[in-house]
C-alpha cells in the first residue's frame, strides 16, 4: 500500500513538474515506479548520478567498451560513433529531441549497452538518472 502511494506520488510529481506530458515523461514515470518498487528508499532521480554513470570507466563489461563515452563521445552534446564507425546522434535531448521517446528502443539499448559496458543490466534507478541527466543537457 505504501509502495502504491509512492508510485502515485511519483506519477503526480511527473505530471506537475513537466508542463507538457509526452512519451518521454511516460517512460520516466514508469522508471520511477520501477525504481521505487526496487528500493523503498527511492527519493527521485538525480542528474548528477546520471552524469557519473555516463562518464565512469566501469571496465566490468566487454573490454572494447569500458564506458558509455566509448561510443556516445565524452560530451552528451557531441556526435558519437559506434565501434564500427557509424555516427551516433548526440544523446542529449536538447540536441536530439527524439531521444528517450520510444519505450522499446530505450529498453533495448539500455539492455545492450549496460551489459556491454557494465556487464549487467542497469537498474531502474540508473536508467532514470541517465535520462534525467540527458534531459538537462
Amino acid at each position: 500500500m505504501k509502495r502504491l502511494l509512492l508510485v502515485g506520488a511519483a506519477l503526480a510529481l511527473v505530471a506537475t513538474t513537466n508542463v507538457q506530458a509526452g512519451p518521454r515523461e511516460d517512460i520516466v514515470a514508469l522508471l520511477m515506479a520501477e525504481a521505487s518498487a526496487e528500493d523503498a528508499a527511492f527519493a527521485g532521480f538525480s542528474g548528477e548520478r546520471g552524469q557519473i554513470l555516463f562518464s565512469s570507466n566501469f571496465n566490468t563489461g566487454k573490454p572494447e567498451t569500458p564506458s558509455c563515452t566509448s561510443c556516445h563521445s565524452t560530451s552528451p552534446q557531441n556526435m558519437g560513433e559506434t565501434r564500427a564507425g557509424k555516427p551516433i546522434e548526440p544523446i542529449a535531448v536538447s540536441k536530439t529531441p527524439e531521444r528517450f521517446t520510444d519505450p522499446e528502443k530505450v529498453e533495448k539499448w539500455f539492455r545492450r549497452n549496460c551489459r556491454s559496458v557494465i556487464g549487467r543490466e542497469c537498474t531502474a534507478l540508473e536508467k532514470g538518472d541517465f535520462i534525467t541527466y540527458m534531459m538537462s543537457q
Binding site: K62, T82, G85, K86, R112, S116
Partner: protein
C-alpha cells in the same frame, strides 16, 4: 635549276582505305584493351568492356570486308595454302628477295596465317570476355544465361588467350620488319599509304575493287542482328540474383551499429551462428527479442550466399574457419583487399574493414560491381 623529273616507280593501291582504317583502329583498341585488362584497377572494367564490344564490331567489319572488300583485302586472295607456304619458305631459304609472286603484293602466306590467327584469337577473346562478363559480373547480354562457374572458366580462357595474343602481336611486328627488310619495302608505310611499289619489269592489272553495296548490306544485316541479340540479351534478368523479400526488422535492427550487410555475403551456417550469439556480437551486446531474433535468423538463412550465384556470394562463401562470422576475414576478401593501404582502413571515411559501402557504391544491393568501386581519399579527423 629544277631537278630532272625522275620517272617514279609505279605503285599499286594494295590496301584500300577501309582496310587501313580497320588495321590502325584495331591497333589502338587492342592496345587499350590489353593495357586496361592487365594493368588498370578493377573499377575501369567498364571501359575495357566497351572497347571489347567495339572490337566485336571491328571484327564483324573485317569478316564482311574479307568477302566484299577490294582484291587484296579479300580472304580468297591470301589463303595460306600449303603450296604457297612451301614456295614462300623455299624463297626465304634461297635468299630470294620478295615478292616472288603476284599474291605477295598483298599478305604473304605467313602474314596471311597471322591475319587469320589474329582475327580468330581476337574473336575468341571477345566471346570469352562476354561469357565472363555475363557469368562472373552478371552484366551484358549473357548475364541471364551464364552461371558463375562457367563464367569463371571462361575468364581463365580469356586471360590465357590474351597472353597468346600478346605473343602473336610480337611475332606479327617482328615478321613485318623482317619482311620489310627482305622485300626492301616498308610494309608499315604501305599500311599507311595503301600503296606498294611494283617490282621492276612486272606488270599488274588494277585489282578489282570492293563491292561496296554488298559490304554495306551485309554489315548492316550483321550489325543489326548483333544489336538485336544484345538488346534481347540484356532484357533478361541476371541469373546471379534472385528476388529478395524486404524485411523491415532486419533493415532497422541490423543497421544501428554498422551498414546493413547483404544476406548473400555469408553462408547459411555463419548466419545461424551469428543469430545464436547476439549477446556477444563482435565484443558487443546486440541482443534482440526472441521473436525478432528468430525472424531475422530465418530471413538471413533463406537468403544466405548459397541462394545466390553472384560474384560476391560465390567468392565469399568460403569463410575463415576461425572467424566464420566475419566477411572481412574470409580468404577471398583478404586477398582482394591486400593491396589497399592499411592507412585507408584506419582513417575516415572508411574506418574499418567492415564499412563496405565506403568503397563499394552498390554494397547494399550485394552486387559489388567493379565499376562501382572507388577508394575515398582519407580525410583528416573531423573536430567533435
Amino acid at each position: 635549276m629544277p631537278a630532272p623529273k625522275l620517272p617514279s616507280t609505279p605503285t599499286l593501291r594494295v590496301w584500300d582505305l577501309p582496310t587501313r582504317l580497320y588495321h590502325w583502329i584495331q591497333v589502338v583498341l587492342v592496345a587499350l584493351a590489353l593495357g586496361l585488362g592487365f594493368f588498370a584497377p578493377e573499377w575501369l572494367l567498364n571501359q575495357h568492356v566497351v572497347i571489347g564490344f567495339a572490337l566485336v564490331g571491328l571484327i564483324l567489319f573485317r569478316l564482311v570486308w574479307g568477302f566484299f572488300g577490294s582484291y587484296y583485302s579479300r580472304f580468297s586472295s591470301f589463303v595460306p595454302t600449303p603450296g604457297r607456304l612451301r614456295a614462300h619458305f623455299s624463297g626465304i631459304l634461297n635468299k630470294q628477295s620478295a615478292p616472288a609472286g603476284g599474291h605477295e603484293l598483298g599478305h604473304n602466306p605467313v602474314g596471311a596465317l597471322m591475319v587469320f590467327g589474329l582475327i580468330f584469337v581476337l574473336g575468341a577473346i571477345t566471346i570469352t570476355g562476354i561469357v565472363t562478363l555475363g557469368g562472373v559480373e552478371n552484366w551484358g547480354p549473357l548475364a541471364g544465361f551464364v552461371d558463375f562457374s562457367t563464367g569463371d572458366r571462361a575468364r581463365a580462357v580469356h586471360l590465357a588467350l590474351a597472353y597468346v595474343l600478346v605473343v602473336m602481336i610480337v611475332a606479327h611486328i617482328a615478321g613485318v620488319f623482317a619482311e620489310s627488310q627482305r622485300s626492301r619495302t616498308s610494309l608499315v608505310r604501305a599500311m599507311v599509304t595503301g600503296d606498294k611499289e611494283l617490282p621492276k619489269g612486272r606488270t599488274f592489272g588494277q585489282p578489282d575493287g570492293a563491292k561496296k553495296g554488298a559490304a554495306l548490306v551485309s554489315l548492316a544485316g550483321l550489325g543489326g542482328l548483333a544489336g538485336v541479340l544484345f538488346y534481347l540479351g540484356v532484357q533478361v534478368p541476371a541469373s546471379g540474383f534472385i528476388q529478395m523479400a524486404e524485411m523491415d526488422d532486419f533493415k532497422s535492427e541490423c543497421s544501428d551499429c554498422h551498414e546493413l550487410y547483404h544476406p548473400s555475403l555469408l553462408p547459411e551456417e555463419s548466419w545461424t551462428l551469428m543469430m545464436a550469439g547476439l549477446e556477444d556480437h563482435f565484443g558487443e551486446d546486440a541482443s534482440l527479442s526472441q521473436d525478432t531474433t528468430l525472424a531475422i535468423g530465418t530471413y538471413l538463412e533463406r537468403y544466405a550466399s548459397e541462394a545466390w550465384d553472384s560474384e560476391a556470394a560465390n567468392r565469399l562463401r568460403v569463410v575463415d574457419p576461425e572467424k566464420p562470422m566475419q566477411i572481412s576475414a574470409s580468404p577471398f576478401w583478404k586477398e582482394n583487399h591486400a593491396q589497399i593501404p592499411e592507412e585507408v582502413f584506419k582513417t575516415r571515411p572508411v574506418r574499418g574493414t567492415g564499412n563496405c559501402k565506403a568503397c563499394h557504391g552498390d554494397a547494399e544491393s550485394g552486387r559489388f560491381d567493379d565499376s562501382k568501386i572507388s577508394i575515398p581519399e582519407p580525410t583528416p579527423e573531423r573536430e567533435s
